[in-house]
């Protein structure tokens, strides 16, 4: 290790500016090549084992998909001809896309251009997929009550229900070391040990053959780029570019077929792995992980040999950062709101310990931070591992990036995460080498199928069911707990909440496991699997339980709302007895007299209809119209309004989570357990366990829109709290008080990650002392066993102006939740939410 790190800024090459502006020149586009090739191959391989069909389809795509080398690129490999374009993945789901053909270009969140030709192409192949998708198979495996709960938005497993899983970090270092040639040899050696009489011969032999087919296809794909680069070099008149193209041709001729021999080859090899994982399946959060570690030997060797300079290495890393933003994915309109910002969550982490517990921060850790300064785009989701032995310079360098307002990096605490992972069965060595997947989810690279983002679970919804004894919109979706008026003590009330929670959690597990089985049956991924232990040895894909560590991690959110709600009920109803639970119920139904929107009216009408049906009366359309008119016309009486206002004011006076009040914080800790504890008792079909995360991505806005008024004074259909952060605007004693409160939650049990967001005005980070104090804040939160921290550094006026004049802010990056996004690409409601979050510091 060196004594001095490259802390100073490094000059940005002009090439990077031009690559970035080319990338963002126009709206991203949907292309059809993959869908057409996939379908063609599936039709040719009808009846063969699924894993072979997957490999053949992957190979067919790689052999025939159009390829392109963009102007001035040094690292090549693009999944679409159009910059930031996306392919489609009909094997997972397709109906939503066809339904959105005419709206996808103009929707608020993440619009995509789609040509008439592409629509026609996709319409031609989509009928083949009817009945063959993972989402249809998963639905077929779900219990009826699970489908009901999902229809009522109790939770949303949309991510893997409609898409590939992704959420993996593979063994990049293995490809860098031995190339796919080496992996083919390994698979072949394993295949050679398979005897036809073995019990697992059928599955294992076919899986290993699929691995070999896939790796061979990847080598051919790189060779296509070699040929293209040579052709372009022949026609190139600029001698410098000609040399660059010849170098690209040499690289693609060697890697990823063979092990990398230079830093440049290692960069190109890395990129093919990263790109092609995402062409094999539509999963997001395919995370490069500890890039500074596995790239370092190549960097060090070339630097010492004088083959590269820090500046030339920086340019290559910058080029990779640009490429990470070239990949894209089109989600359905509802999911696009939840994952807004075209994000692929490719999490790349620097710093931290090695398996022996020594700090391994190196030059590349700093160059990676510098690359985010240079490229200044949302990808990669840059993360920093922090522990007591982290060099101060690394944190100051990272804080300098935070200060720019890009919303990067996110900070992670080794001291919490390592023991937390060990509590889930990882060895000490593996836990020390963790990296982050997607938003905030820790795991051990190359050994884990973590299913990290398995669902959004809205903790507010079970509380609504306590007030309605399990009914929602006239249908039973929960447990028929006692009428809320009969719950005599807070303990009874809290027990009813836990009962509703436990039931909903069990259905969530059913949904995830049904989807899990569907992926194993229909979409095993041999290419991805060959880079994760022990798939080759076991002869099983990741989807079938081939990984050493298997988890399912659905995330709960709304902790702050539930802590504040339950605490208010405890105080006002059962202790001071200032209101009755019946009054509370009425106030929630009537949104505290603050007006009912269409969604609330519809909910109430459906509840009335449900009541009538229970009595054996089925109202006709005219009767329903009459009920609707009555509900819509209903206004609280003056007396009711007074009682609502009084309750609203009383709630405002009850202490809230986020203000460093130990009693309230201890309560919040217990409320979080209502989600994290029951969940860990469940298992998944891959032989692993469920583990909770506490983070919302950006779903706190759209899922808040599905949640009625809550007892903490939150009005109907407004956003719920973000991650483990206090409710927006409720923490009024500044960042240290909020951090103290949040650190009192149990972050260790939420081993799938927690997310704590703070928003800072730039003045809070000004000057050297601003950075020093900011780093001290992070260190102290981590001293107190917080797990993750991230920051938005922008002033309110900037954001308001950006809403008004988006054209001036095309590159304004904000931290949304577990990732950064371009502010102007977010929907208005999400923009408003970001503006509303308490401004800390000043």
């Amino acid at each position: 290790m060196r004594n001095s790190y490259p802390v100073e800024s490094i000059k940005k090459s002009e090439r990077i500016t031009r690559l970035v502006s080319h990338l963002y020149a126009k709206l991203p586009e949907i292309e059809s090549a993959r869908a057409l090739l996939l379908t063609e191959s599936y039709q040719q391989a009808e009846g063969e084992p699924i894993v072979i069909r997957r490999a053949k389809a992957f190979a067919h795509i790689l052999d025939h998909i159009p390829i392109i080398i963009r102007d001035e690129e040094l690292i090549v490999g693009s999944s679409t001809l159009a910059p930031r374009g996306c392919q489609t993945y009909p094997e997972f789901s397709y109906e939503w896309l066809e339904a959105e053909f005419d709206t996808v270009e103009h929707r608020a969140a993440d619009p995509f251009y789609i040509s008439e030709q592409t629509k026609e192409d996709l319409r031609r192949v989509h009928p083949y997929w009817k009945g063959k998708t993972t989402s249809e198979r998963a639905t077929a495996y779900m219990a009826p009550e699970t489908l009901t709960a999902m229809a009522h938005n109790m939770f949303t497993p949309g991510n893997y229900f409609y898409n590939g899983v992704g959420h993996v970090t593979v063994q990049y270092e293995k490809v860098l070391a031995i190339g796919y040639q080496g992996i083919i040899a390994e698979a072949q050696a394993e295949l050679d040990t398979c005897q036809p009489g073995d019990a697992d011969y059928a599955r294992k032999s076919r899986f290993l053959q699929a691995v070999i087919l896939s790796c061979e296809a990847v080598i051919r794909y790189a060779h296509r780029y070699m040929v293209l680069a040579k052709q372009m070099a022949d026609q190139e008149t600029n001698p410098q570019r000609r040399e660059e193209l010849l170098a690209i041709a040499r690289n693609c001729g060697r890697v990823p077929e063979r092990g990398a021999e230079s830093f440049y080859e290692a960069c190109q090899s890395f990129w093919f792995v990263q790109q092609l994982l995402q062409l094999e399946s539509s999963g997001h959060s395919i995370s490069p992980g500890r890039f500074d570690q596995y790239m370092y030997p190549y960097y060090k060797k070339d630097l010492e040999a004088g083959q590269i300079t820090i500046e030339s290495a920086q340019e290559l890393i910058d080029c990779i950062w640009v490429k990470l933003n070239d990949l894209n994915k089109c989600r359905d309109a509802a999911s696009a709101e939840g994952f807004a910002g075209y994000s692929l969550f490719q999490n790349l982490i620097v710093g931290g310990q090695n398996k022996e517990g020594l700090d391994v921060t190196n030059d590349l850790s700093f160059l990676c931070i510098e690359a985010s300064h240079h490229v200044f785009l949302p990808q990669p989701s840059l993360s920093i591992r922090v522990w007591n032995g982290s060099p101060h310079e690394l944190l100051i360098k990272a804080a300098g990036l935070t200060r720019t307002g890009i919303g990067l990096p996110a900070y992670y605490n080794d001291e919490v995460i390592i023991p937390s992972l060990m509590s889930r069965g990882l060895t000490l060595e593996d836990a020390r080498e963790y990296n982050i997947i997607g938003c905030v989810e820790p795991q051990k690279a190359g050994k884990t199928e973590g299913w990290h983002d398995a669902a959004f679970f809205n903790m507010c919804r079970p509380l609504e069911l306590v007030f309605s004894s399990g009914y929602d919109r006239g249908e039973l979706v929960g447990i028929q707990t006692k009428p809320v008026e009969e719950l005599r003590t807070f303990e009874e009330f809290y027990d009813a909440y836990k009962e509703q929670m436990n039931y909903s959690i069990s259905l969530l597990v059913n949904a995830d496991n049904a989807i899990d089985v569907a992926h194993a049956e229909l979409c095993p991924l041999p290419f991805e699997s060959c880079m994760v232990d022990d798939c080759i040895k076991r002869g099983r894909s990741l989807q079938e339980g081939g990984a050493v560590y298997n988890f399912t991690g659905p995330q709960g959110f709304g902790i702050a709302n539930m802590a504040d709600s339950l605490y208010a009920i405890k105080q006002l109803v059962y202790e001071s007895r200032q209101v009755t639970i019946g009054e509370y119920k009425k106030a929630l139904q009537m949104n505290y007299g603050r007006g009912l929107d269409e969604a609330s009216i519809e909910d109430m009408v459906l509840s009335v209809v449900g009541e009538l049906k229970k009595k054996g009366i089925t109202p006709d359309a005219a009767q329903i119209a009459r009920i609707t008119a009555e509900v819509a016309a209903r206004r609280p009486s003056e007396e009711e309004q007074r009682s609502f206002d009084r309750l609203y004011d009383l709630i405002a006076e009850v202490p809230k989570f986020g203000n460093d009040i130990p009693e309230v914080d201890a309560f919040a800790r217990d409320v979080a357990y209502t989600y994290t504890r029951p969940l860990q008792n469940y298992c998944n079909p891959r032989g692993g366990m469920f583990q909770a995360g506490l983070y919302p991505v950006s779903a706190n806005v759209p899922l808040g829109a599905q949640t009625g008024a809550t007892p903490d004074g939150r009005l109907a259909h407004t956003p719920v709290a973000d991650g483990v952060s206090p409710s927006a605007g409720k923490d009024v004693h500044g960042p240290t008080a909020a951090a103290n409160s949040v650190s009192r939650l149990d972050h260790g049990i939420a081993s799938n990650g927690t997310l704590f967001n703070q928003k800072f005005h730039p003045s809070a980070l000004s000057g050297v002392s601003g950075l020093e104090n900011f780093v001290a804040l992070i260190r102290t939160y981590f001293d107190q066993k917080g797990s993750h921290m991230q920051f938005n550094v922008v002033d309110r006026e900037t954001l308001l102006d950006a809403q008004k004049h988006p054209e001036n802010y095309a590159h304004l990056v904000v931290r949304v939740a577990g990732y950064s996004a371009l502010f102007t690409t977010l929907s208005k409601s999400l923009q408003d939410d970001i503006i509303r979050r308490t401004e800390q510091g000043f």
Binding site: N740, G767, N773, A776, T780
Partner: protein
């Protein structure tokens, strides 16, 4: 905590995560009551010792017909014991440890409540928390002297060297304050021992100058202050604090007239120019802002 934990005083705010007043992450306790009436004062609610009612935005964000945010009355001023204040100050101890921060007294003028101020500083020091005080040094030196042993950093305001102009803009002449400044500096240089143990105590002294257009923002006026500061033993730094208008709405909230409505904050160029003036006039390091 010993008997001084029961000492009572009057405060009007406690602000955590303050990072622009002294070293590290600090908790500022604002004591109520001041001897001066500076025209530009950004905390007008600090001036009277009496408990007052001020109109403040109610947090609803609703605009009234006159285009202003809706306001609600807020009581300014609360009587608290040292122990109560320390309970809150203690909560950020882990942040002080990481950042080298601690407790800062501000006001008002803390020296208007000498017994309370001394007890607060002592309570903090005795449990190992770093202390700082923002003050103009406007009290009898005997009063100041009794709290210095508990103070790690004195942030001393010097606003003007000319007594008449000082009196015109703050309501009081400056002789006492300048004399105290010399004595405080002498104390700082002497590095005396604590009252309770024999370790030598080195109190840091910084001079802070609010830069107020029309009052003290000419190079000559700043030069005079810098020369004076330079003549004090033990001073290391001069801070130039640019005038800001953040307190303006509070005057209205208190039903008072703001006497400097037309004054604009100094430009960055102006501040840089004055910083050079300071550096040319004395050997002290100069910084813009806290």
């Amino acid at each position: 905590m010993k008997e001084y934990g029961n000492v009572k005083g009057r405060i009007f705010d406690i602000q955590r995560y303050s990072i622009h007043d002294g070293q590290g992450i600090r908790t500022i306790v604002f004591l109520k009551g001041c001897v001066l009436r500076c025209r530009w004062c950004c905390n007008p609610e600090s001036q009277e010792y009496a408990v007052q009612t001020m109109l403040v935005p109610d947090g609803s964000g609703i605009l009234e017909a006159d285009g202003r945010l809706r306001r609600k009355p807020k009581v300014i001023g609360e009587d608290v014991t040292v122990a109560e204040v320390m309970e809150l100050v203690e909560r950020d101890r882990p942040y002080y440890r990481r950042s080298g921060g601690g407790l800062t007294l501000s006001g008002g003028e803390s020296l208007c409540q000498p017994e309370f101020a001394t007890a607060l500083l002592r309570a903090a020091k005795e449990c190992g928390i770093n202390t700082a005080m923002e003050s103009m040094g406007c009290a009898k030196y005997e009063v100041i002297e009794q709290l210095l042993p508990w103070l790690d950093h004195y942030l001393l305001d010097i606003k003007h060297i000319n007594p008449e102009k000082h009196k015109e803009f703050t309501g009081r002449s400056n002789e006492l304050m300048l004399e105290n400044a010399r004595k405080i500096a002498a104390y700082s240089k002497a590095a005396k021992g604590y009252q309770t143990d024999r370790e030598p105590h080195r109190m840091e002294l910084s001079i802070r100058v609010p830069v107020i257009p029309t009052f003290n923002d000419t190079p000559e006026e700043i030069r005079d202050i810098a020369r004076f500061a330079g003549s004090l033993p033990g001073v290391e730094r001069v801070y130039l604090l640019p005038y800001h208008r953040l307190g303006q709405d509070k005057y209205e909230g208190l039903g008072r007239e703001y006497l400097m409505p037309d004054i604009l904050p100094p430009t960055t160029e102006k501040m840089e120019q004055l910083k050079r003036v300071v550096e040319e006039s004395c050997s002290l390091r100069c910084q813009i802002g806290g």
